[in-house]
Amino acid sequence: MSALLQFERITKRFGGVPVLRDITLALPAGVTLGLVGENGAGKSTLMNILGGNLRPDAGHMTWDGQPYAPSGPADAAAAGIAFVHQELNLFPNLSIAENLFLTRFPRRGRWPVIHRRALAAETNRWLREVGLAAPPDTPVERLSAGERQLVEIARALSSEPRLILFDEPTTSLSDRETRQFFTLLERLRARGLTMIYISHTLEDVLRLSDQVAVLRDGALVAHGPREQFDKDRLVTLMVGRRLDRLFPARQPTGGAARQPTAAEGAGAPGQAAPDSGKPEVASVLPQGVPLLEVRGLTRSGVVHDISFELHAGEVLGLFGLMGAGRSELAQILFGLEPFERGSIRVRGRPLASPQPTRCLREGVAFLTENRHEDGLALEASIADNLALVTLRRHARRGTGWLNRVTLADAVRGIREAVRLTPTARDAAPVRTLSGGNQQKVVLGKWLLAQPPVLILDEPTRGIDVGAKFEIYQLIVQRAEAGAGVLLISSELEELIGLCDRILVMRRGEQVDELRRAEFDRERILRAALHERSAA
């Protein structure tokens, strides 16, 4: 069998951080390849390179024996490669037919007039293929998430590609639609179409693929025929172990938590009562009252029946794969999204309808996942960004007149505390900083508020190793000062290195909880991976 697609020593870095290392992988024609890996293992980057959205730093690809270097998605489409993404890329205001044929409407002869009958017939043909019973002129916005996913698949098929890539195609499908979709995949496979199937549902990958490839930390760690793998082996391969990472000492007495699975015994502060002798916030609290208490928090389709407590001095990790609802949970806690049922208590006081201003007053701070979108004003100065959350403390009541002396002191203090690069002037726009320093600005602005409850959503995403370690130190310092930290991360290593307790979420539900002594990569990942009970 000759390879239809070949990756040859593909390497890619983002800001010095390698995300793909030397990937060499051949995909024979007619084969379905299952591609698995943790979040951040490099799957998306690899597929973006295939789709022409990213260019590799080194290495090359061949397609059908010819060198293939796409400079954009159009090149990939021209080569006959189609993508079905997890997040939907349809135009909700257009009809199904228009979405399918947006770039290649059937015309009446050479005139720039759409051949409506041909369009409807063609669309119907593909909708039948994917098993969606809807008229071609239905606006996509009227379809359910599952139906939209089927339209997306129909669109990929209608370009009659030679290779289709499915990225988590079943997350929004119902059980019935999933079964239908799997039959379709079988049919396509029998027809000899080459496919790449990416999923966190390992059972599906094992069932649908001819070959399986496992990525971990940007490297290809295993590739072979499906028969060589079972679920356990895949989990073990995906998890691996990374020894090049250091985490700050979690307890004043304990050593560096380089071997986090090592039991720390009774000293683990994950239990109900906070350690005595914790300064600041903890001291004023009655014993045993958690800083943050969540009971039965539910928002349909997003999170379901989430309950946990966060205690003073504790770092509580929240792990889950994409779409598990971790960030959504944090947004609900901070009042950015509504919830339907359940209760939130901060330091014993109920927070009935949280609003960001209200949460801040109650002592909750929230570092969001995306620093560019809702963490920073990129064009504004470093000083203005740092001071924003705590401005009220420097403003005179009534007039709002700012005390520039105390404000400048606070900015200077926090700059030193987060060890922001000293070369940048206070007045420099945040945009001019590196990713790591930008993240320090966001963290700094929240730390200035000295919040008893600190929610951190992916605080180290996209920053270099040195800055990561410094941010870990700040997190630990904050916990040691008596705050409770809710740490959301896709990096298991990070959570294991820093947390006292880890909650695992899967599809909006809380599926496991581990104390430090029980930390076990495989158990956590297994809990987070999608299970499919009905096959």
Partner: protein
């Protein structure tokens, strides 16, 4: 080099001075005492209006209704204060009461705009465009399209006597400058203009701050109406009908960004000077009104182009 120059905050200031120096030899009377006094006097209401516009533009919005607010405030003040039919006629408190009434009109319309934009989340462009039509019409309807004469002389002095008018307008501009640069409200305005999502997450009361910007713009429009009406010694529903272009032009030429987050009173002052001197010198050169409008239009387009270009450069990370 060119890029650094184009990115400079003081570009417009420099251009204005350069323009004056260049035009001086060709324009008889440009530097004459009466002419300068006249320019200054007519510049003041424009400055006050433009300060309000600056505040709104910083939020990323726009206030097209400012001049209609001015017209309504003017005729309401005129109807109340005039010596013939006004119910304040002859009253020793006529001037302060009339001014307060006018400011009240600005406050009310500004509050309505703010409510529509911040609470009902309507697009500022629509809210204030329809506001411009409605209140512009209302001003005419209130007076049956008549001009109102015979205003109290103390009131006329407010806008018409140069030192007094300059003190009022200068004081207001200074107040807005301090508000923007030295108070928490100013920081919040810039923050939400830069990134409203981020501002919300960071605990900025986004709704109140946004609404406040429109209220302020309404108040300043009413204050401009006081100056303008006093200057003309008549209240007219057509007051400032042609002023909207100048207000937005001056603000944008000064460097305040239409995309929000950038803007300063000092820049706006430079923009107002630029527009006024352009106006004045072309007038003295006997250019027709049409030529004048065309030149102004071109200047605003250039300023908007500069704004967009600066933004492009920023996004490219240079």
């Amino acid at each position: 080099m060119l890029r650094r120059w184009l990115n400079s905050e003081y570009l417009v200031m420099l251009l204005t001075f350069a323009g004056v120096v260049l035009l001086l030899p060709f324009t008889p009377g440009l530097a004459s005492r009466e002419n300068l006094a006249n320019v200054l006097l007519t510049l003041l209401p424009l400055l006050v209006l433009a300060c309000g516009q600056t505040v709104v533009l910083i939020t990323g919005g726009i206030d097209l209704s400012a001049c209609a607010i001015m017209a309504v405030a003017s005729v309401v003040g005129g109807l109340a204060m005039n010596g013939d039919t006004g119910w304040l006629a002859g009253n020793p408190w006529a001037t302060p009461a009339g001014v307060l009434l006018m400011l009240g009109v600005g406050l009310a319309i500004g509050a309505f705009n703010g409510f529509a934009v911040a609470t009902l989340r309507m697009p500022p462009f629509m809210v204030t465009l329809t506001g411009m039509m409605f209140f512009g019409g209302l001003a005419i309807w209130l007076t049956r399209s008549e001009t109102i004469y015979n205003l109290p002389s103390a009131f006329n002095a407010l806008g018409g006597r140069l030192p007094l008018a300059a003190a009022v307008a200068g004081g207001l501009a200074l107040a807005v400058h301090l508000l923007l640069s030295r108070t928490i409200y100013g920081r919040w305005l810039y923050a939400l203009g830069h990134n409203p999502r981020m501002a919300r997450v960071s605990g900025v009361p986004v709704g109140a701050v946004t609404a406040g910007a429109y209220v302020l713009s309404g108040l300043l429009a009413a204050a401009a109406a006081v100056l303008y009406t006093g200057q003309a010694e008549t209240a007219s529903p057509f007051l400032g009908q042609r002023l909207l272009l100048d207000v937005i032009a001056a603000t944008v030429i000064g460097g305040t960004s239409l995309f929000g987050g950038r803007g300063k009173v000092l820049w706006t002052l430079a923009g107002v000077l630029f527009i006024k001197l352009l106006d004045n010198s072309l007038n003295l050169l006997n250019c027709s009104f049409f030529t004048l409008t065309m030149v102004k239009g071109a200047a605003v387009l250039a300023a908007a182009l500069l704004d967009a270009t600066r933004r492009r450069w920023q996004e490219a990370g240079t």
